[in-house]
């Protein structure tokens, strides 16, 4: 007899597997450290250092702006001289790095959740338990997706606080978030996390340990990171509609990848590769 279901999923089974996976992540330094250090570096230390640098007179970004695409340069140039460094770096250039965080966290966790079970030799035990393939898959997916989004959003909250606080004496206003930032963080970054997840699930089913999963997954995810980094600044210069549309495309890709992952994630296939 299955537990209570929501949308065809056994809620108790999903919660049991999810609770175990999240508990395991909390206890694993190898997983927790990269999950916390990278966001700390990108989302706290970087704005802190930029904010502090903006207080001095020595940094002038005008020469640098000449090297940037016209739209970005002109957008920054509309701001007063002393605000330009802050607007350029914290308003535009850090944004692409934000997409690295959910992508990286989801990839690390998915590798641990799927390939890690094989490596720890715990997968067979789970396959012999009365949990349906789809419940197991969804629990594993959530166990990677939710922390990735949580880290991105909490990191963003820190980023907002640190950026606005450190740059207050320069900006004299809350310059973040903007609507476009909000779209990137709340609409596009979860989609990017889901893409990373979809890739890592497919990879993890085929490999026998986390290291292989990270190596193989990295080979696929890295070009996406480069693509994301390259395009996000442009996205922030576009209107909200375009940003929303881009997010929808990323979600569609994520949906397709994860649907394919769900089809590939069968008990038989997992057991056959033990």
């Amino acid at each position: 007899m299955s537990g209570p279901t929501i949308a065809g999923f056994d809620r108790d089974a999903v919660r049991a597997v999810l609770g175990r996976d999240l508990g395991a992540v909390r206890r694993s330094k190898a997983v927790m450290l990269p999950m916390l250090l990278v966001p700390l570096l990108l989302l706290v230390l970087l704005p802190l250092s930029i904010g502090l640098a903006a207080h001095g007179d020595a940094l002038h970004v005008e020469d640098f702006l000449k090297l940037l695409p016209g739209r970005l340069a002109s957008s920054v140039m509309t701001h007063p001289h002393q605000e330009r460094l802050v607007i350029l770096v914290l308003g535009y250039l850090v944004a692409p790095l934000f997409l690295i965080v959910p992508l990286m966290v989801s990839a690390v966790l998915a590798g641990d959740a799927f390939a890690g079970e094989k490596e720890r030799k715990t997968l067979e035990t789970i396959l012999h338990l009365p949990v349906r393939d789809k419940d197991l898959y969804v629990a594993k997916l959530l166990g990677s997706f939710l922390p990735a989004v949580a880290v991105a959003w909490v990191g963003f909250a820190f980023y907002l606080v640190v950026s606005n606080a450190v740059c207050w004496s320069v900006m004299h206003r809350l310059f973040l978030p903007t609507w476009l930032w909000a779209i990137v963080i709340f609409w596009i970054s979860p989609a990017v996390a889901a893409v990373g997840l979809g890739i890592m699930v497919r990879v993890s089913i085929r490999v026998s340990n986390t290291q292989e999963a990270q190596q193989l997954g990295g080979a696929v995810v890295l070009p996406l990171v480069i693509l994301a980094v390259g395009q996000t600044t442009t996205l922030l210069l576009s209107g909200p509609l375009i940003a929303l549309a881009v997010g929808a495309v990323v979600w569609a890709i994520a949906g397709w990848l994860n649907l394919r992952g769900a089809q590939a994630f069968t008990r038989d296939r997992m057991a056959a590769r033990l």
Binding site: G19, A24, T125, P130, D268
Partner: protein, 353 residues
Amino acid sequence: MGAGERVIDCENLTRSFPSGIALDALTLDARPGEVIALLGPNGAGKTTTMRLLNGVLDPDSGRATVLGLDPWIQGEELRRRTGVLTENAGLDERFTALENLEFVGRLRGMGATETRRRGNELLERFGMSHRADVKVQGFSTGQRKRVALARALLHDPELLFLDEPTSGLDPAATRDVVDLIGSLAADRGRTVVLCTHFLGEAGKLAGRMAVLFRGVLHAFGTTADLAAQLWTGFEVRLDLGGTASRELLIRLGALPAIVQAVPTEIGALVRVGSRDDVPLVVATCVSAGATVFGVDPRDPDLEDVYFALEARAAAAGVPGAQDERGMAEGPAPDRTVDGPLVDAIGSISGDEP
């Protein structure tokens, strides 16, 4: 499930992987309260059989019902009623022994209180209560195995699949586990499928044995049934204080009561039609001038049967039947099946033993 019904009933179960056929047309059954042993070297198909019967792997062909359910359609329902001990204990090292049990209890729909109570009870039963709240990371192989056994028994399953349940255990724990398995079957009517390399353990626990080589079932039945298929008559070990002479073996071979006679290091191994023929064998030895220090009439045990089957499979060209022995009782004893033994007797007349 009624006493006459079969807990496991499978027919022509076949499964292959890209590396080759793992199981080829397996047909076997198990009754309530019965222990059946799956025997064979590594790669024989024992674990694949277990996975197929618990609905974890799908077959390429064949059919099965387990506890009255179709494992591949009603897998979840079936797995609620089965308990599995995998070869690797499969415990998550990041959690304590009790937390490992609690996770499984939750997935089996047991309440938190019930899981803790039952988990603590079983950990105590296996001498692990003092480590219930310790992370599994530092556990020895034997300790892990005991926790994994507790996990397999947590929900009091009707059918148990146990893959090497005593490997890594010390002698006292081994005896305890063997007794427990025996009592689960005999006293509680639980059915057990035992995959093991330990022939002594299988011989003690299992009513029937399935002997597999390279995915093919070579024999299935009680030790006595299998022996009857392999040999005729009754085996007697003669202790003559040294290898029997060629003349004595010829005289023994000439007796109508003697089916076979082969030399051993301490005398001879003869096969007679029945126990009544033993005095005649002894008298023949004495009349031939041999000193008889001991006469040991014995039925073939599982070890004899297993290695005879292995030899027969190897003779039939089954790859891996002898080159991957890995069974725990050491090298094959000096026993062959009827055909080769008859040949051996035939050769005695011409060659020194």
